[in-house]
C-alpha cells in the first residue's frame, strides 16, 4: 500500500516538474506584452471582447483571462460600453 501511495505522489511531482520545464511559465497579460493588441482593445471591437465573455455573457475573471489588474479593469469598462450600445449581451436567454 505504502509503495503505491509513494508512487502516486512522485508521479504527480514529475508531472508538475515537466509542466514547469515545458516553458509554460506563468500567465502574462497579453495587453502588456503587445501594444498592438492594446490598441485593438476598444468597445467597437466586439470580436476581441467576446473572447473575454463566458457563454452566459459574464466577464471572465482575471485569473482565467490572464490580464493584469489594470488591463482587466480597462477591458471590463470597454465591455460595459459595448453592452450599452447592444453590441454585446448583458446576459443570454435560457438555452
Amino acid at each position: 500500500m505504502t509503495k503505491k501511495i509513494k508512487l502516486k505522489i512522485s508521479a504527480r511531482l514529475v508531472k508538475k516538474r515537466t509542466r514547469r520545464g515545458q516553458g509554460a511559465g506563468g500567465k502574462h497579460c497579453r495587453f502588456c506584452v503587445s501594444l498592438e493588441q492594446l490598441s485593438q482593445l476598444d468597445y467597437k471591437n466586439t470580436a476581441l471582447l467576446r473572447s473575454f465573455l463566458t457563454e452566459r455573457g459574464k466577464i471572465l475573471p482575471a485569473r482565467i483571462s490572464g490580464n493584469c489588474s489594470r488591463h482587466q479593469r480597462y477591458m471590463g469598462q470597454e465591455i460595459k460600453k459595448a453592452r450599452v450600445m447592444a453590441l454585446l449581451p448583458y446576459t443570454t436567454q435560457n438555452v
Binding site: K44, N45, T46, L48, R83, M85, A86, P89
Partner: protein
C-alpha cells in the same frame, strides 16, 4: 480609414456612435449627418468622418427592435465647447424617434483605425445559428408544423394531449 494628422492645438477629437431604428432611410441618414455637421461647425470644429456601419442584429431588443443600424461620426471641437451639450440635446429631442441610443467618447489615440463587427449585409446571420433555426423552422415536419392560422405548433400529438387535458 486613413491616418489623420494629430488634432490642432486646443482641439479635442470625439466620436459619436449612434444606434438608430432598422428602417432608417437615406434621407434620415443625411439629416443626422447635417445636424451633427451644423452643431460641430457652430462650435468652430470640423467633422472628420461620418460612416454608416449597416444593419445589425442587436444582442437584446432596444425599444422593441431586434435589429438596428449603427452610425459613427468623428469630429474635433475646441475643448470645453458647447457642441457636446448641443449634440446631447439634439439626440434627445430632435432625433428622438430615429436614434435609439447614442454614445459620445473622447478619442485619445492619434490613430483613427478601428475594427468593428460585420453587419448583416457583409455576413448575413452568421455565428449563433439563430438564423439557421429560424429559416428551417418553417420546413414542415422537420421541427414543427404550421397550422392554418400561421401559429407554430410542436406536433399533432401534443395538440391532442392538450385537448384531453382541457
Amino acid at each position: 480609414m486613413s491616418q489623420q494628422p494629430s488634432p490642432q492645438f486646443g482641439l479635442q477629437r470625439y466620436e459619436a456612435l449612434m444606434l438608430t431604428v432598422p428602417e432608417l432611410t437615406k434621407d434620415e441618414t443625411v439629416l443626422i449627418e447635417k445636424q451633427i455637421d451644423e452643431a460641430v461647425r457652430k462650435a468652430a470644429g470640423s467633422v472628420i468622418s461620418f460612416e454608416r456601419w449597416g444593419k445589425y442584429r442587436l444582442e437584446y431588443p432596444v425599444k422593441k427592435n431586434d435589429y438596428g443600424v449603427y452610425l459613427l461620426a468623428r469630429f474635433e471641437v475646441p475643448k470645453g465647447s458647447q457642441a457636446l451639450q448641443d449634440l446631447q440635446t439634439m439626440f434627445a429631442i430632435k432625433l428622438n424617434l430615429i436614434v435609439m441610443r447614442h454614445m459620445v467618447h473622447a478619442l485619445e489615440s492619434p490613430s483613427l483605425v478601428y475594427q468593428r463587427p460585420k453587419s448583416l449585409e457583409e455576413a448575413p446571420e452568421s455565428g449563433d445559428g439563430r438564423g439557421f433555426l429560424r429559416d428551417h423552422r418553417k420546413i414542415e415536419g422537420l421541427i414543427s408544423a404550421v397550422d392554418a392560422t400561421g401559429r407554430f405548433t410542436d406536433s399533432t400529438d401534443d395538440l391532442e394531449d392538450n385537448e384531453d387535458l382541457g
